[in-house]
């Protein structure tokens, strides 16, 4: 091999690596830019009053307290409906299911559930919870809708968490005469708990940012007070942002940026929380 071709090969390697690095830069720069830009523009709007007062003048003045509370209600509702069934399904898939066609079908269903567009979940919620079950446009209908959407995530994360429990623990428990369910209840679940909580927190974070489904099943842009019962309509941060940005002329720019920043902080803090729980659990297990 002549030295010249070697040089050209080195050159093409350098060019290629440069391009790959450029691709990576193209991925991360917009993210950092978006987040920094949002903090810079939104921080000015955020004050104690903005966070704790109800909106006035059709949302153009005052605070966004009901939207914040509504979003937390939604996160809680999603958790209550999606977590227990998700964990139970995870237990079934890891501890009870055999490797047969039914299990494969369930796994395929979970996978596809995660890929269903959010607006389609909205239609599902409208048809089933709002109309057929007669919940009306309400917090309850929205929670159920978001829970259906979160199901794939709670099942998958529970399954992963349970799978990560060392086999010896289960075998030890079974060896001293515990039944399968006792082993699951007293050995597997406590060990899998951090992983399950991580999944739950992620599902809540997802529910906080989800807009399309609640747009269909009952979010309101302007309500004078907080929802008094699960059957009331509600305000929520993402819907508030959408309407303020796209549909209300004359909305002060700083307010919209403020809403966007609050939403981002809520979603991101739950994401970070999930990461922290995951890292701490890993540290405890592997030292």
């Amino acid at each position: 091999m002549t030295s010249r071709t070697m040089v050209s090969r080195q050159l093409s390697q350098r060019t290629a690596f440069g391009l790959l690095m450029l691709a990576t830069t193209i991925v991360i720069v917009p993210v950092l830019f978006i987040i920094i830009y949002m903090i810079v523009n939104g921080a000015g709007a955020i004050s104690w009053e903005f966070l704790t007062q109800s909106p006035s003048q059709a949302g153009k003045a005052g605070g966004i307290f009901p939207a914040i509370v509504g979003t937390f209600y939604l996160m809680l509702g999603t958790l209550i409906f999606a977590l227990p069934v998700g964990v139970t399904a995870g237990i079934y898939l890891t501890e009870y299911a055999r490797d047969n066609w039914l299990t494969r079908l369930i796994n395929t269903a979970i996978l596809n559930l995660a890929g269903v567009p959010s607006i389609v979940y909205g239609l599902f919620g409208l048809g089933v919870f709002v109309l057929a079950l007669n919940f009306g446009m309400s917090l309850l209908a929205a929670s159920f809708t978001l829970a259906c959407q979160a199901l794939a995530m709670t099942i998958t994360t529970s399954r992963e968490a349970i799978l990560a429990v060392p086999r010896e623990y289960k075998e030890g428990s079974l060896a001293v005469g515990a039944t399968k369910w006792q082993t699951v209840r007293h050995i597997v679940l406590p060990q899998a708990l951090p992983g399950i909580i991580t999944g739950a927190v992620l599902a809540m974070s997802r529910a906080a940012g989800e807009t399309a489904p609640i747009l269909v099943v009952g979010a309101a842009f302007f309500l004078p007070g907080l929802p008094q019962s699960p059957l009331d309509q509600f305000m929520a941060l993402p819907y508030h942002l959408y309407t303020a940005a796209a549909h209300v002329p004359g909305m002060p720019k700083s307010t919209i940026w403020g809403v966007a920043l609050v939403l981002l902080v809520v979603v991101m803090s739950f994401n970070v929380l999930a990461t922290v729980i995951r890292l701490r659990a890993r540290k405890r297990r592997y030292g």
Binding site: S118, L131, W181, G209, A212, L263, N271
Partner: protein, 313 residues
């Protein structure tokens, strides 16, 4: 108090037996409950399909499927109403193509960099940033597109409005990047290191190894990553609702305002009379969306499975 001796043993045995029976009954109950929950994913998925069919299919009695799919006029509130979804379909296709054209080279390039070249430190900084991107809610991305990108696109291409398919496609490309990067990176990592070592032993440079060994080896995984990204772009709602422009005509260029299928549902459902024709037509669009994303995901799953089996010996 029982007398010590044989009778205690038998009494205890009887007690234990009945306890155990009750126990077993309780467990039987719990286990069937667990089984039912295990089926829930199927129930919800089938439930979504059944609901879409039930609410959406009746529209075809009014507008035959052929006219529904290929009709170019969507006038849900005129008298008589017409429902042709070609404008929405073309819009979905346009924004998806734009998004994929940007996200695939960038995403796969980034994945190759992270999997093959980047030092551990760089990777550990970049990966959380990509996770951050995956966590940004779609309505926030829509808002960013509205405020920052659309004025930029408008002045760059000299348009009447920056709210168009191109803007939506660029935002969507950002949103489908995380899944493309992570799935491609996993696929690249799954290529056994013996393959790389063999290439080095033959005198290949690192880039030649990546180009001729790693990427071909991971190709089906990368294809699945692309499909999952496409599925994401097809189903994304808020971003396209906010920045695609919302025009009802069939778009002829990405720089025109348009209304993808998801946006058509989201913007129409509030006004549609319950169980009226408009309502049914929107559910029928939902049915088409559901079928499209289901097909994309099923194929991606099959491809991924094949990739996983590829290097197992």
């Amino acid at each position: 108090m029982l007398q010590p001796g044989v009778s205690t043993v038998t009494a205890n045995a009887g007690l234990e037996k009945s306890l155990r029976r009750r126990w077993r009954l309780g467990e039987r109950f719990i286990e069937s409950w667990i089984f039912l929950n295990g089926l829930l994913a199927i129930v919800v998925l089938v439930g979504v399909l059944v609901l879409l069919l039930r609410e959406g299919l009746p529209i075809f009695a009014y507008t035959p499927p052929w006219e529904f799919f290929f009709g170019t006029k969507w006038y849900p509130v005129s008298e008589p109403p017409t429902f042709g979804i070609m404008p929405f379909f073309v819009a979905t296709l346009t924004v998806t193509v734009v998004a994929t054209a940007i996200a695939v080279p960038v995403g796969v390039g980034c994945a190759a960099y992270l999997a093959e070249i980047a030092p551990a430190k760089v990777r550990e900084t970049v990966k959380p940033i990509i996770e951050l991107l995956a966590g940004i809610p779609s309505v926030v991305m829509g808002f960013i597109g509205l405020m920052l990108l659309s004025p930029l696109v408008q002045s760059m291409f000299n348009l009447n409005t920056g709210l168009c398919g191109l803007t939506a496609g660029i935002m969507l490309s950002l949103m489908s990047l995380p899944i493309i990067v992570s799935v491609s990176e996993d696929a690249l990592r799954a290529v056994p290191s013996e393959f790389r070592e063999a290439a080095y032993a033959l005198g290949a440079t690192k880039w030649e190894t990546i180009r001729h060994v790693c990427i071909p080896g991971a190709l089906s995984g990368i294809a699945a990553a692309v499909m999952l990204g496409v599925g994401r772009a097809i189903g994304e709602t808020m971003t396209v609702l906010m920045v695609a422009g919302g025009a009802l005509a069939v778009p002829y260029s990405p720089t025109e305002p348009m209304m993808p299928m998801t946006a058509a549902i989201a913007s129409g459902i509030g006004e549609a009379v319950r169980r009226g024709l408009h309502y049914q037509a929107l559910f029928a669009i939902g049915l088409i969306l559901f079928t499209m994303t289901l097909a994309v995901n099923l194929i991606a799953d099959k491809v991924l499975e094949r990739q996983k089996r590829k290097f197992v010996r």
